[in-house]
Symmetry: C2
Subunit: 150 residues, 2 copies
DNA sequence: CCAACTGTATATGTTATATATACACACCAG
DNA sequence: CTGGTGTGTATATATAACATATACAGTTGG
């Protein structure tokens, strides 16, 4: 008997037009799924071929993404067996997201300062955009109450 | 008589190791200098060859950067004459910085949310990092009181 | 053992970046 | 007006990251 195997469609959408490399989009998607607990430790990720087929990318691109996730300790690979979420994958994924978020904020503050905003103005600007983004995100999840296919 | 010509050394440091393409680093540097008013409208930017020599990059890389800045309406080029800061270069530069900052914040908030933070926690996290960054930036400018060469 | 899955490795094409070199335009000294 | 020296401009070339196809190697279960 083996671990349950995750479905892949939740990772998308992956697109060459989207910002960032294809493999990076896959990495980001899995960090989200693992970080939010939808892929628990021990769960097997989709195989290279399956995910490649579903996302319309090559096997090597999937491999590249999995390599990156393994380098960060979020998943591990076993030849002939498959690829699995690490026991502490969720924590590591969340830590990576937090670190990334912090770096982005620091950049944003620097940009705001260089845009001519005073420290107080910069703080207000960041606060306003943050609140806006949070309320928009909430709005996107609320209307999902209509009946959908099982 | 011609417009004064700006010096280049303030743009750096430019490095292949730094994040982003070389030409992009140059773009960012000029947006900062123009946005903060140190390069006013009408001022001539350094020539391709001079800047290339000072930054240890090729002429084409400088050209690439200037093309990008012209596309955003921050500077304009005149063959045989030189490259100049646009009349509204400062405003456009600041607007670009603000837009960039806003995009970064939205990304950061999304990452923070996917890291498992609640909206309230995300807001607190953003606020804390913002304050930290601002105080660090202030600390870097204060100690510049020692005597320096004229 | 063999078939059918897994992940792995090598060679190749495409694109973005960075470069060197040669060219065209504008000003100014003579 | 003519040439020199400074501008920006254009073409062809090297390098690195990204993405791909194809062939290889390990694991499992009939």
């Amino acid at each position: 008997m083996s671990e349950p195997r995750a479905i892949a469609v939740q990772i998308g959408p992956i697109s060459p037009a989207a910002p960032g490399a294809l493999y990076q989009q896959i990495v980001t998607g899995f960090k989200r799924e693992i970080g939010e607990g939808r892929l628990a430790g021990g769960i097997a990720l989709p195989s290279f071929r399956l995910l490649a087929e579903q996302l319309l990318v090559s096997i090597i691109t999937v491999r590249r993404a999995y390599e990156e996730l393994e380098r960060e300790g979020i998943i591990y690979r076993r030849q002939g067996l498959g690829t699995f979420v690490a026991a502490d994958g969720r924590e590591r994924s969340r830590a990576a997201k937090r670190g990334h978020a912090e770096a982005l904020i620091r950049l944003a503050v620097q940009e705001a300062t260089e845009a001519g905003l005073s420290p107080a103005q910069a703080k207000a600007f960041v606060s306003r955009v943050t609140t806006e983004t949070l309320s928009e995100a909430k709005a996107c999840k609320a209307p999902t109450l209509s009946k959908s296919a099982a």
